[in-house]
């Protein structure tokens, strides 16, 4: 059985869903960040697969920009986590509800 673009899209959907489940069930914000990275990777994979499907390079271009945005997001987000840990001595996602309501 040959590997088609649908295989990649289904795999990307599965990885994305695992990331969504991780964001919903984890209470450690660092692990939630990792799950967000997993979701970004799944979307990148579907970008590349669809780019090859249509014979275009644009999918890979989007992945390059998504990668830069992911790097920026991780650095700022981990800085926020470190700052919250310094001021509150905990990073449990249920304790840090400063902006909840």
């Amino acid at each position: 059985m040959a590997i088609t673009t649908q295989h990649y899209l289904i795999l990307s959907a599965i990885l994305f869903t695992i990331g969504v489940i991780g964001v919903l069930i984890k209470r450690n914000p660092i692990v939630i960040f990792m799950c967000i990275e997993l979701m970004l990777n799944a979307v990148n994979l579907s970008f590349v697969a669809l780019g090859r499907h249509y014979g275009q390079i644009n999918g890979q271009m989007y992945v390059i920009f998504a990668l830069a945005v992911a790097a920026a997001e991780v650095s700022v987000g981990l800085g926020i986590i470190v700052a919250i840990f310094r001021s509150r001595e905990t990073i449990d996602i249920n304790e840090v509800n400063l902006m909840k309501f």
Partner: protein, 172 residues
Amino acid sequence: MSGESVSFWILALVSVFASIMMIVSKNPVRSALNLVITFLCVAGFYILLSAQFLAAVQIIVYAGAIMVLFLFVIMLLNLGAPEALIEKGSLQKPVAVGLGIFFVVLIISSQAILSLPQAVGRPSVTQYQGTVEAIGLSLFDPRQPWLFPFEITSILLLVAVIGAIVMAKRKV
């Protein structure tokens, strides 16, 4: 089975298993190491999809830089102890898993995946599409729309650097 399908199925199994292990394991360091395996598998998928440059960048940026940052913060905050953040038994976990399974079934059964439209016209030659040369030519081509976002990305990274320093500073 051809080599491509064998590699695809091995990489798919390993990546899905590692990502499930990532959200199952209690220890954040173990989660991070499982995420590294997933990233390496995604890099393998990029090579299968003839995006060699992206595979190299994926390994360097994700598996290298971002995961080092994650592990550094985990070790800095000393969250390595498994009992640091214990999830209490509640309705949240089964509901999340059920909604996730519903979501993935919804995506897979969507019309966009089941009947993917074919490319209009002939696709260009694809096996040289992921090289550094092709990506660079497309990225810096003024007729393509990528040059301006590329310049904006530099400003984004500058803002991220400043933001990270300001966030992590002890006192203003």
